[in-house]
């Protein structure tokens, strides 16, 4: 006997506890099953690209902070790399090492937030989230030592970073490196063998290798599907070519793989940080000859980097003036949303939020 059912259409968001910001989905349910999903975005659109056309190259750094606000350092890094390529600036070695340290710390922080909120979407009453935020807090304190701000850093400048790390930074970093593996172990003990997490996340929201590549999805989501594509390894920027690290790859590409890949990447970032500390050498953090007002020649540049969410690149066009003629952001969060509908069709309501959380989008970056 089959019951006659009727689909129900519902607006999930923009104000909803687990849409990670102001994301709205027009979802059609049939009972508990999802029939259709249509993402509706733009609630946080601030026109960063237009604003960038009226600011000098240094001032745009403050705009990039606000795009992906849980990973400002990597945003800065991507933008600065693009400006350096455009203006032909050779950065100081110490500045580059410092910004690599900042970027890897930021990656740990971002992955911690992603995994914490993923478990929060599973309904874990905030406990793993708060454990993760506790670790992020230490990283933010280190950022405060570096540049006086915790989230909107604006730490990088064309040519390096604006200021050398203070003396108390290095002991704090070493303490963090010693403690963090134990903390990750704790999280793994709490979650990766947890039967409830396993049955909730395994074989849910599966992304196939080819679909994933074809939809331009990058970052941990792509690697969880089994594609070995990490720009730090394949197209090394900064001094990543001098560093050895391994890249965790998933097999199936479900939510659990994405969760695990992020956990493993946190460990790899710790390795990279240790090598950065070994390699860093004294010297100026920013070449003296780089002016405060950068004035690049005519041309365009696009330098993609591996941000915690995926491939992040700034396409800058210069007309020879003090501000970019066009500044386009290739935002990984936005493009990773492409296949959301295909991922959740036929799943239950509860899986919708878990899958959405496992893509790890940031609405500040989606809407810009």
């Amino acid at each position: 006997m089959s019951l006659r059912t009727e689909p129900v259409t519902m607006n999930v968001g923009p104000i909803h506890p687990s849409t990670h910001g102001v994301f709205r989905m027009r979802v059609t349910f049939d009972g508990e099953e999802i029939v259709d999903v249509e993402p509706v975005i733009g609630y946080l659109h601030r026109g960063s690209e237009k604003l960038a056309e009226e600011r000098t190259y240094t001032q745009v750094v403050t705009l990039t902070d606000r795009m992906d606000y849980v990973a400002s350092m990597t945003n800065n890094q991507s933008y600065i790399l693009s400006v350096e390529k455009l203006a032909g600036i050779t950065p100081s070695p110490r500045g580059v090492w410092l910004r690599m340290i900042a970027a890897e710390l930021q990656r740990i922080a971002s992955h911690a937030v992603a995994n914490g909120f993923l478990i929060n979407d599973l309904g874990a009453w905030h406990t793993p989230l708060l454990y993760m935020l506790r670790e992020r807090e230490k990283i933010l304190e280190m950022f405060e030592m570096l540049c006086g701000a915790r989230i909107t850093n604006s730490y990088l400048r064309p040519g390096g970073v604006f200021m050398d790390a203070p003396d108390q930074f290095w002991p704090a970093l070493n303490r963090f490196l010693d403690e963090m593996p134990n903390r990750i172990d704790d999280i793994e003990r709490l979650l990766t063998t947890n039967e409830i997490v396993l049955i909730r996340t395994q074989n849910v929201g599966v992304l196939k290798k080819d679909e994933c590549l074809n939809a331009s999805i990058t970052g941990p989501v792509l690697r969880a599907s089994g594609v070995d594509w990490d720009l730090r390894d394949k197209n090394p920027y900064d001094y990543y070519d001098q560093i050895e690290f391994s890249r965790p790859l998933g097999e199936i590409g479900d939510n659990h793989d994405r969760f695990l890949v992020r956990i493993f990447e946190m460990r790899e970032s710790l390795k990279i940080l240790r090598q950065c500390i070994e390699n860093i050498e004294p010297g100026p953090v920013r070449p003296k000859e780089v002016p405060f007002l950068v004035r690049p020649p005519k041309g365009d540049s696009y330098v993609p980097i591996e941000s915690p969410k995926g491939e992040l690149g700034f396409y800058l066009v210069s007309d020879g003036g003090i501000s970019p003629f066009r500044c386009h952001v290739r935002a990984p969060s936005l493009i990773n949303l492409t296949l959301l509908r295909e991922m959740v069709l036929g799943d239950k309501i509860a899986d919708l939020f878990v899958t959405f959380g496992s893509i790890d989008v940031n609405m500040g970056e989606v809407d810009r």
Partner: protein
């Protein structure tokens, strides 16, 4: 066995139950006798004499003391610190501010000669309500006259009051942050505990004397 992962998870939370917390009781912390007497810098017995109420509260662990979270000296906070002696009124800060929230009105004067001519400041308004504390104005200041502050408790009731005027800047307590001022960092200066009144202490270079100025700007030209 089924359920083993759940039990492991239960023990992780149990470990954190007895472990330390990572939040602080800002701004008032409730403490016991030992910490309270340390805070008032007394021994526990004389605490009862000087602060009887706090002493009794401390017996049940309820004495109130101030507690602040740790703060880096580079913290980019509110209450901009401005040293008028160093300012020449060049308005670089106003030019480089991404949001254009600094307003400067000057007239030519004799008061603050740094290198060459100078202007006296009539208006120096900073609209803190729109400020995003990027610190580019501080970076742009050629004479180290403007510094970020170190405070963060400037919640007020009216939006108009968020505009800092020149008088406020003059009379404010000077606790400049060491952000973009490496010379202050070398002397291990802590904005939370120390004040700086003398404008000589904050600059990268000393204020030139009249003779030097004459030599540089009159004789060498």
């Amino acid at each position: 066995m089924f359920g083993f992962g759940l039990i492991k998870g239960l023990f992780v939370t149990l470990k954190n139950l007895v472990g330390p917390t990572f939040t602080v009781q800002y701004p008032n912390k409730r403490v016991g006798l030992i910490k309270a007497s340390k805070y008032y810098n007394k021994n526990p017995f004389s605490l009862f004499k000087s602060h009887p109420l706090e002493g009794f509260k401390a017996i049940v662990g309820q004495a109130v003391i101030k507690e602040f979270p740790d703060q880096s000296p580079r913290f980019r906070g509110q209450e901009f610190n401005w040293f008028e002696d160093r300012c020449t009124g060049c308005a670089s800060c106003a030019k480089y501010c991404p949001l254009g929230i600094i307003e400067i009105v000057t007239h030519p004067g004799e008061k603050n000669i740094q290198e060459g001519t100078s202007y006296d400041i009539d208006v120096f308004d900073i609209d803190i309500g729109r400020c995003m504390f990027c610190g580019i104005c501080v970076e742009a200041c050629p004479f180290d006259a403007l510094h970020m502050g170190s405070g963060f408790e400037r919640a007020i009731e009216k939006r108009e009051n968020l505009v800092i005027s020149v008088d406020e800047l003059r009379s404010a307590e000077k606790r400049p942050s060491t952000w973009f001022r490496p010379q202050m960092e070398k002397s291990s200066y802590e904005p939370r505990n120390e004040k700086i009144e003398d404008s000589h202490d904050v600059g990268r270079h000393e204020k030139p004397s009249k003779e030097e100025l004459t030599k540089r700007w009159v004789n060498e030209r």
